[in-house]
Symmetry: C2
Subunit: 101 residues, 2 copies
């Protein structure tokens, strides 16, 4: 975009990299917020700049809740389906599965 097209590779010039980081970070945060609202999605975004500064965004349920939900989703529980799995998708589509904690 902008006046010229750029390749998606690390920007070597420090000043330019920081300016681009600032602009794109703002754009990404905005898009994340929009997705959460428009589609009723639960999402978390964590960004550390190359200088170590932290920026984050979480939808209404809150960062901690989302991170816990993520850990839960990644675990395999005895007798509990993993919401990431294909079988869970199938059960949801079939109307058999409505919710996974």
């Amino acid at each position: 975009m902008g006046r010229g097209k750029i390749a998606i590779e690390r920007i070597d010039n420090t000043t330019n990299r920081q300016v681009t980081f600032s602009k794109r970070r703002g754009g990404l945060m905005k898009k994340a917020r929009e997705l959460a609202i428009l589609c009723d999605a639960d999402l978390a975004l964590i960004v550390f700049s190359s200088t170590g500064r932290l920026y984050d965004f979480a939808s209404s349920s809150g960062m901690e809740a989302i991170l816990e939900r993520y850990q839960e989703a990644k675990e395999e529980h005895c007798g509990v389906l993993n919401p990431t799995s294909e079988i869970s998708d199938y059960l949801r589509l079939s109307g058999i599965l409505y919710f996974i904690s």
Copy 2:
């Protein structure tokens, strides 16, 4: 964007909401990946759709490492600065602080 402008509020029509979710999720993931590469940023994105399906993206250091780094950044350690803080920014700008574990 697109043929018409839409308000940023929950999309009531289920089909429309799912189509929009699919498109915007893809766009958000792409932007996240670009920011990580262009600006050498460390980032994690976690998205749960309204039906509970999980989608995620993490830059090269990996999801677990980023989540741990996030928890570290949010904690106050005895004698260790919080990288989120203004004082840390000041020390970085002054060239006094280079790295925070």
